[in-house]
C-alpha cells in the first residue's frame, strides 16, 4: 500500500485546481484520481466563455481552461495524475481503494480532497425511457466531445444556465430547438444566456412542463402543458410538439458516496442540491482527513469549483505544515475571492445553503453518518 500526503478524487476544475495549489504550497506526494480517460471534467464540454473575475478565468472558454490546467500539470512530476483510475471506496482506516488498468490499488493519504462532481437529476413523466431522451450532460458529451448530433429537433426542459447554454450549443451545431420550457415562473439561468437564444428565435416558456413523451420505438413528439402559479397543470393547455429529442436540464445533485463512506457528517441542503457533507469554512469535513470541493460540496459553477479546490488544498497543506503563515494568508485570499463571487443576487441561495451547512442549523436530517467515526 502506497502512502502519500494528498489524494484528490476527481480531475475536474476543483480537483485540478486543488492538485496545482497543493503543489504550489509545497506538498510533494500528490495523487489525482480521474475516472475518465481525460482530465478536465465538465470543462471539456464548455465551449462558452466563462463569467467571473478577469483575474481568474473570465472571458476564457471552458475547453481552453481545461488545456491551461493540463499544461500546468505536465510541469509538475510530483503530481501523479492517473486517468482511468476509479476510486472504489474509502475505508474505515482512511485507506482509499481505486482500480487502475485492471488492478486494484490501495492508497493511504494523510489528507483526501473529494472533488467528485455531480450527477444529473431525472424527471418523471410518461415514456421518459424512450430512446431520444437525454440529460443535458449527455447531449454535451455527444456534441462537444465526440462531434455527434443527438437529434434534429429538440425540446429543452429547464431554463437554468445548463439548459440555456446547451440550447445555444445545439443552435450552434445547426440543430433546431423548438422551445425551452421551464416549470417555475422565472428563467433561472443568467439573463444574457436567455437573451442570446431568445434573439435567435427560440421561445422560452415559463410555467410550462412536459406532460408526456410520445412515440413507439423512439421519441416522436412531446406534449407540453401550462402550469398555474401553484404548479398545477392547467387543463386544456396541452400542446403537442413534433420533436425527435428531449433534453433534460433539470438540475444536478452532488456525488457524495465517498464522503458517506468516509464517515463525514452529512446534511440535506436543498440550496446546494441535496445531501452534502457538513464542512467548516476551510472545507474540512467532520472527518478531519477529508475535504470537499466543487459540485460535490454543493452545485455551483466552475469558477467557484476552482476556488474551492484551491481552498481545500490550502487547508490540507495548512495541516500538513502547521503554523505556516504564508499558507494561512493564501487561504484568506482564496476565501475573499469566493466571497466576492458569491456576493451578488445570483449567489444568494449559495450563501444561504452554505450558512446552513456550516452551522448545520436547520439543515435536513443526516441520513447517512455511521457511528464508527463518532
Amino acid at each position: 500500500m502506497e502512502k502519500c500526503e494528498l489524494a484528490i478524487v476527481g480531475g475536474g476544475p476543483a480537483g485540478l485546481a486543488a492538485a496545482l495549489k497543493a503543489r504550489e504550497l509545497g506538498l510533494k506526494e500528490i495523487f489525482l484520481l480521474e475516472r475518465d480517460n481525460f482530465l478536465g471534467g465538465q470543462l471539456v464540454k464548455q465551449t462558452h466563455q466563462f463569467f467571473g473575475s478577469h483575474k481568474q478565468f473570465a472571458g476564457i472558454r471552458g475547453i481552453d481552461i481545461a488545456e491551461i490546467f493540463k499544461d500546468k500539470l505536465e510541469d509538475q512530476p510530483e503530481i501523479q495524475a492517473l486517468k482511468g483510475a476509479v476510486a472504489q471506496g474509502y475505508y474505515e482506516d482512511d485507506v482509499l481503494g481505486y482500480s487502475y488498468r485492471g488492478k486494484f490499488f490501495k492508497l493511504k493519504p494523510e489528507k483526501t480532497i473529494l472533488a467528485t462532481g455531480a450527477s444529473e437529476k431525472m424527471l418523471s413523466f410518461p415514456n421518459n425511457d424512450l430512446p431520444g431522451i437525454y440529460g443535458a450532460g449527455a447531449v454535451q458529451t455527444l456534441m462537444n466531445q465526440y462531434g455527434i448530433i443527438p437529434g434534429e429537433k429538440i425540446l429543452m426542459i429547464g431554463a437554468g444556465n445548463i439548459g440555456l447554454i446547451v440550447a445555444y450549443q445545439l443552435l450552434q451545431a445547426g440543430i433546431e430547438v423548438e422551445a425551452v420550457i421551464e416549470a417555475t415562473g422565472i428563467i433561472g439561468g443568467y439573463a444574457v444566456h436567455a437573451s442570446k437564444i431568445r434573439r435567435a428565435g427560440i421561445p422560452i416558456l415559463t410555467y410550462h412542463t412536459i406532460k408526456e413523451a410520445r412515440g413507439d420505438e423512439e421519441v416522436e413528439s412531446a406534449v407540453i402543458q401550462k402550469l398555474n402559479e401553484n404548479w398545477q397543470p392547467v387543463p386544456g393547455t396541452e400542446q403537442e410538439m413534433e420533436i425527435d429529442t428531449i433534453c433534460l436540464a433539470v438540475g444536478l445533485t452532488p456525488k457524495v458516496d465517498l464522503a458517506i463512506q468516509a464517515g463525514c457528517q452529512m446534511a440535506y441542503v436543498a440550496e446546494l442540491g441535496g445531501d452534502v457533507p457538513v464542512r467548516d469554512e476551510n472545507l474540512q469535513t467532520s472527518n478531519s482527513r477529508v475535504y470537499i470541493a466543487g459540485d460535490s460540496a454543493g452545485i455551483e459553477e466552475a469558477t467557484a469549483a476552482i476556488l474551492e479546490g484551491e481552498l481545500a488544498a490550502a487547508s490540507a497543506a495548512g495541516e500538513i505544515f502547521p503554523g505556516n503563515s504564508a499558507i494561512a494568508q493564501e487561504r484568506r485570499e482564496i476565501k475573499e475571492k469566493l466571497a466576492d463571487l458569491r456576493r451578488g443576487p445570483v449567489g444568494e441561495h449559495i450563501r444561504r445553503g452554505l450558512a446552513r451547512v456550516r452551522r448545520n442549523q436547520n439543515a435536513g436530517r443526516d441520513r447517512y453518518t455511521r457511528s464508527w467515526k463518532n
Binding site: H54, A58, I186, S195, R199, A200, G201, V346, G347
Partner: protein
C-alpha cells in the same frame, strides 16, 4: 419581463442607451447587461477606460458614452455576448449594428440577411457590411450589419437567407 421571456423590457434598454445627440455623433457601445452576475472582463477590455471600475464584481457595467469611441474591443470580451456597437450615422440612410456572432459558417461581406430583433422576429433585410474575425477575438466574430436607421435600436441578430 426579461426574467420570464429573455427579452429585455423597453424601459431597461432605454436606460442604458446614450443620448440621441451622442448616438448621432458616431459609433458607441451599448450594454444589454441587466442582471447582476459575477463578471468583469468588459472593464479590463476597454482601452479608453470608459467603463467605470467595479466596486463589486457583481456590479452592472457603467459606460461613459463620452469616453467611448465605439472601437468595439469590449464586444468579444463579453462572455454574455451582451455588448453591441451602434453607428447611427454610418451613411445617409443606414446605420450599422455590430453584433457578436458565434455561428458557422460566417456570412459573406455584402450578403443580404434577415435582421432579427431581440425576440428573434424578422425586422427586415440587412446587409453584411463587414465580418471581423481576428485571432484575438477568440472565435467570436463581430458582424457589421447595415440596417435602416430606424432599426438601429431594434436589430440585435440576423439569420442567413438559406437557413
Amino acid at each position: 419581463m426579461l426574467e420570464e421571456t429573455g427579452i429585455p423590457e423597453a424601459g431597461k434598454i432605454e436606460e442604458n442607451l446614450p443620448s440621441r445627440e451622442r448616438l448621432e455623433q458616431g459609433p458607441v457601445a451599448v450594454f444589454e447587461c441587466f442582471t447582476e452576475i459575477p463578471c468583469d472582463p468588459c472593464y479590463y477590455s476597454c482601452p479608453l477606460e470608459a467603463i467605470a471600475e467595479f466596486q463589486d464584481i457583481n456590479d452592472l457595467p457603467e459606460l461613459d458614452f463620452e469616453k467611448c469611441t465605439g472601437c468595439g474591443q469590449c464586444i468579444t470580451n463579453c462572455p454574455g455576448l451582451a455588448i453591441f456597437v451602434l453607428d447611427y450615422n454610418y451613411s445617409e440612410e443606414e446605420g450599422v449594428v455590430r453584433i457578436p456572432y458565434e455561428y458557422s459558417p460566417l456570412p459573406e461581406e455584402g450578403e443580404i440577411v434577415l435582421a432579427l430583433d431581440r425576440g428573434g422576429e424578422v425586422a427586415g433585410e440587412a446587409r453584411v457590411e463587414r465580418v471581423q474575425y481576428a485571432e484575438k477575438q477568440d472565435r467570436t466574430a463581430v458582424i457589421w450589419l447595415a440596417v435602416p436607421k430606424e432599426q438601429v435600436l431594434i436589430v440585435r441578430n440576423f439569420k442567413r437567407m438559406e437557413d
